[in-house]
Amino acid sequence: MKIHIQNGRLVDPANKIDAQQDVFIDEGKVIAVGAAPAGFSAERVIDASGLVVAPGLIDLAARLREPGFEYRATLESEMEAAMAGGVTSLACPPDTDPPLDEPGLVEMLCFRALSLNCAHVYPIGALTVGLKGESITEMAELIEAGCVAFSQANTPLVDTQVLLRAMQYAATFGFRVWLQPTDPFLGKGGMAHDGEIASRLGLTGIPVEAETVALSTHLKLAAATGAKLHVTRLSSGAGLALIDQARAAGLDVTCDVAAHYLHLCDMDIGYFSPLCHLEPPLRSQRDREALRVGLAEGRINAVCSDHTPVDDDAKQMPFGESEVGATGLELLLPLTLKWAHENKVPLIQALARVTSDAAGIMGITKGGHLGVGARADVCVFDAAAERVVTRASLRSQGKNTPFLGVSLPGVMRYTLVEGRVMFENTP
């Protein structure tokens, strides 16, 4: 289908474009930007006057809950959420049940995703069998099956020798290793950031050192093995400082932050709100500031949603017993825009963190930009409009977000995947 997106403000960070330019799409690809190609006659014209036209968002962490947790969410429900959120490519962590540690499972997930014909799904393979941290997975086979990187999801790898071997093996092929730094012992039994709030509320603390101790190990082992390390969901300023140091010493390492951590801190737990029970924990105001600044300065490379749909029953529990996580696919753009607005970050730079920079981390070249020949994954949104987050407004099966009732900027109008209009919301 030939589509002409006209009169919009095209913001394409990869190609350094922030200007009023039209986009022309045919056969699922961008065929021209600016002037129409000779003889182009659109079958559909999308009027983007007053709207931003950007590459479809790339989310580095979205749990689709399949296989194994279909009562929490299904590919169908979460794909709909992705479309409503303008997310056209997403990486899903291997903490499914069973974990994504076998090529067959990965193929099945890819096949299921492909048959829905929605967002592009990029599985992250398990680094170790069953995420148990004992033996390494068939990484070469898993890559062939469709994985783009390997991780332990939220399960720390206790045995550092296995970690070293896993990183060596991944480095043999140049595969990416994504690690969420949490020391299994320092964070043991913990529920919230170890600080004044947790102390007052009597919640078992997770000290910042749970992040920095694990991160130091990861950085050292990355340097020793040459593995391409990506640090996922950084939670503290001290963690970011370690990454700065490692980079200064010459290590090529990337990192991301989940969107919630740009806006919330341990104080938001308030009177034990289980919606703020997240992993890693929401840390202090000072940490939140460090993450916001680090992201603005590009020391943090990307923002992800860390989308984790949880059913109501699992959230309506005392804080420490409640399931961790927050739904996020539909809030990735609004929370990124809110941060950009508050920290006076130009839109093009903010969008880079959820498009081109994220694509670079995932190692995909067809998405994350709107240059000629690129996959026509596009989101068109009203950056100025605000919308209140409600249970009804969320398409995700998980209604678990601390932002319920909060007005956030950025209303998605259209989402296109390979030139097909998958979401449409016109006033």
């Binding site: 947790a198 102390s199 009597g202 005392p318």
Partner: protein, 319 residues
């Protein structure tokens, strides 16, 4: 943010914590408790304030003393008391906390007295009652995880006021395992709210929570230093499972360094009072010579506890 334990008019609706509770309400509870202490000495130990009301003691964690004193308090107010030891019933069958609440509401509960191993569980109940428009049902926190044990904190305040009259010229030391203690948190909140000019905590670094100094206390690790010149010593119970491991090497060493002996108590003022929430571990946190000595007010605490719980219950459901 709505304060979950106060009504829109600032009156007590639930008793969930002493942290952030206005001084006027704390004092009001202590004042109301005062005449209730005499009820125990009457021939007919009953008042009709809660006649026709049903109080459900819902204990998700085992307790004998607290449950019994709540039961006595409710019965002296003429309430019908139903004891549920949930630790051995529904939840082991997989029922959620809120399902239990709904079921008990259907049985006509007017008040829940709840103990739970998880910090914040009574908040979840109060929030649920509010969300389902059952604000007329009150929740009294009888101890949640490490978070709060407000009636214990209140009875301690009652005891201190009984012996010392005025809070504003006292030095009070809280001694022991503050980290795991809901009692300590409620005591510290109440003492600082009632205007005690110096609240100290004494214990090893492994048993003091991060940022405890920001709760308005002075931190000591040495008993001799920390007890110097204090008017009130509030001992905390050390749980058996914490006596040896990564937090402490042994109960013997603990007693040697932090156990309250007559020698250490001699550092306090001569008329200092010693409190303990019970049950005591003699020879671990407290020497028998102190526990049974003339400074100890541990048994009066228990008696006052009933009056204070009567005061709380009558304020919540007696109106």
């Amino acid at each position: 943010m709505r304060n979950p334990q106060l009504t829109r008019n600032g009156e007590l609706q639930h008793l969930l914590t002493l942290d952030g509770l206005p001084k006027a309400i704390l004092e009001q509870i202590l004042d109301i408790a005062e005449p209730f202490t005499e009820v125990a000495e009457r021939e007919v130990k009953k008042l009709p304030l809660l006649r026709g009301k049903s109080v459900f003691n819902v204990f998700f964690e085992n307790s004998t003393r607290t449950r019994t004193t709540f039961e006595i308090a409710a019965k002296r107010l003429s309430a019908d008391v139903i004891n549920l030891n949930v630790a051995t019933s529904s939840t082991t069958k997989g029922e959620t906390l809120l399902d239990t609440v709904d079921n008990l509401c259907a049985m006509g509960a007017d008040m829940f007295v709840v103990r739970h191993a998880s910090s914040g569980a009574p908040y979840l109940m109060a929030e649920h009652l509010h969300a389902t428009k059952r604000d007329h049902i009150s929740v009294v926190n009888a101890g949640d995880g490490r978070h709060a044990h407000p009636t214990q904190g209140l009875l301690d305040m009652y005891t201190i006021r009984h012996y010392k009259k005025d809070f504003t010229n006292l030095v009070v030391a809280v001694v022991g395992d503050v980290l795991h203690s809901r009692v300590a948190r409620s005591e510290i909140a109440a003492l600082t709210t009632l205007g005690v000019p110096e609240v100290r905590v004494i214990g090893p670094k492994t048993l003091l929570p991060t940022g405890v100094e920001r709760m308005g206390v002075r931190v000591f690790h040495d008993m001799h230093e920390g007890l110097k010149g204090v008017d009130v010593v509030m001992m905390l119970r050390l749980q058996n499972e914490r006596m040896q491991g990564a937090l402490l090497p042994s109960s013997q060493e603990y007693f040697k360094v932090w156990g309250l002996t007559p020698e250490k108590l001699a550092r306090a003022k001569p008329d200092a009072i010693v409190l303990h929430p019970g049950p005591m571990n003699r020879g671990v946190e407290i020497d028998s010579a102190v526990a049974d000595g003339q400074n100890a007010v541990i048994l009066p605490q228990v008696t006052f506890g009933i009056a204070v719980r009567m005061a709380v219950m009558s304020m919540l459901a007696g109106g």
